[in-house]
């Protein structure tokens, strides 16, 4: 705790906490212990393996943080940290391209009907697609909604990472099954369709042993059933040293 002793803290707390009725304040001890980058402690710098691009990619390349275009759903902040798998250092300037389905399981853009279900409004939109470039600390953020499901696939988000226009990895990220179930059965934008018909282990892309999907799971912070903060580390190398999911 820098620049503040206990007396200061008590004084400031008493002054500032007039409305802080539910929880009395208490004092912090001095910070001790070994600090580390611990977003995902065991695998933060393990190379992120590639997965199929899929048929729903669209060469839109729209640079924007808010990709919702008014789509309904659970407001979700995706926070993605790109690191170098060899040095474990953040990678600034990496372009992250993401795309995913809406609450009804439809993709946008004039692509295959299997992605849009032939929905004209979806075909004429570019919702839930966008690119952001990582900042000096390696982070990029997207405001979106939780993806809906469609038959045969577990809920997922596609991503391609490029550095200096060179593709580093194209892959897909997933959510824990019980998180999806909680959202699909509680949030009004999803309840009409109910729970997904495919779990992570039964998915036709990442399915199999549960351990197979673990490196691709977001770390979710669900606030009630109203907001989701979802974090993920993407560790990259040159395209010559990729691995497959």
């Amino acid at each position: 705790m820098n620049g503040m002793n206990r007396r200061d803290l008590i004084t400031k707390s008493l002054a500032a906490v007039a409305l802080f009725a539910a929880k009395p304040g208490s004092i912090l001890a001095e910070a001790v212990g070994i600090k580390r980058l611990d977003l995902t402690p065991t695998d933060v710098c393990t190379l992120t393996c590639r997965s199929t691009l899929g048929p729903c990619f669209y060469e839109g390349r729209v640079a924007r943080r808010d990709i919702t275009e008014g789509q309904g759903g659970l407001p979700t902040l995706l926070s993605l940290l790109v690191v170098n798998a060899d040095t474990c250092q953040p990678v600034p300037g990496a372009a992250i391209d993401i795309w995913h389905a809406n609450a009804n399981g439809l993709y946008s853009a004039p692509i295959s009907n299997m992605c849009t279900d032939g929905n004209t409004a979806a075909r004429n939109s570019t919702f839930l697609r966008g690119i952001q470039t990582t900042d000096a600390d390696g982070w990029a953020h997207f405001n979106t909604v939780y993806p809906g499901w469609y038959s045969g696939r577990t809920p997922h988000i596609h991503s391609t990472v490029r550095v200096n226009s060179s593709e580093m990895v194209t892959t897909q990220f997933f959510f824990p099954d019980d998180l999806s179930t909680k959202i699909y059965t509680a949030h009004p934008a999803y309840t009409a369709r109910g729970r997904a018909d495919t779990t992570n282990t039964r998915d036709n892309v990442i399915g199999g042993a549960a351990a197979r999907v673990t490196p691709f799971l977001f770390q979710p912070k669900l606030i009630g059933t109203s907001q989701l903060f979802a974090l993920k580390v993407i560790a990259i190398r040159s395209s010559a040293t990729t691995c497959n999911a």
């Binding site: 803290l9 707390s13 409305l19 539910a22 580390r36 980058l37 902040l77 669900l222 009630g224």
Partner: protein, 148 residues
């Protein structure tokens, strides 16, 4: 028309649900600037991952650049910020590779009630924390351009 009504009802239901959830877990209303000492405890609201969180609200003015710091020696902190429309807008795990404390610097995009999420990275941990909100001065009035 029917679809429009359904969408409106769905939106309103989501809005009410969001407000209810925020109300249930909100522990304080802050007056910026603020320094708060508090505790994350087992009876706080729980995120999906089993981590506990407090929600702290403040009234913010569009254009204000705030710094929010969450510090604890008892647990690894996670900090979130939700805008007046209920959209999660910023988050931070570690302020730097050498610290497990959290910090957000953000220019408010709208006026209204903003919500800070004080949370732990790991599930089921509890402990004391300090939250500091600073940089609260609202931006000055815009100069009106005069056309000559």
């Amino acid at each position: 028309v029917q679809r429009l009504i359904m969408r409106t009802l769905t939106f309103l239901a989501a809005l009410f649900a969001a407000e209810a959830a925020l109300a249930q877990c909100t522990n304080a209303t802050l007056t910026c600037p603020a320094t708060i000492a508090a505790v994350l405890s087992a009876d706080d609201c729980a995120s999906y991952d089993g981590s506990r969180y407090d929600l702290l609200q403040f009234s913010g003015t569009a254009g204000t650049t705030l710094t929010i710091q969450l510090r604890s020696s008892g647990f690894d902190t996670f900090l979130g910020l939700i805008d007046p429309a209920g959209v999660p807008i910023a988050d931070n795990d570690d302020v730097s590779p050498g610290s497990t404390d959290s910090k957000i610097t953000h220019t408010l995009g709208a006026s209204g009630t903003w919500t800070i999420v004080a949370n732990s990275v790991q599930p089921a941990v509890v402990g004391d924390y300090e939250l500091v909100v600073s940089g609260c001065a609202a931006p000055g009035p815009r100069r009106r351009s005069v056309r000559h």
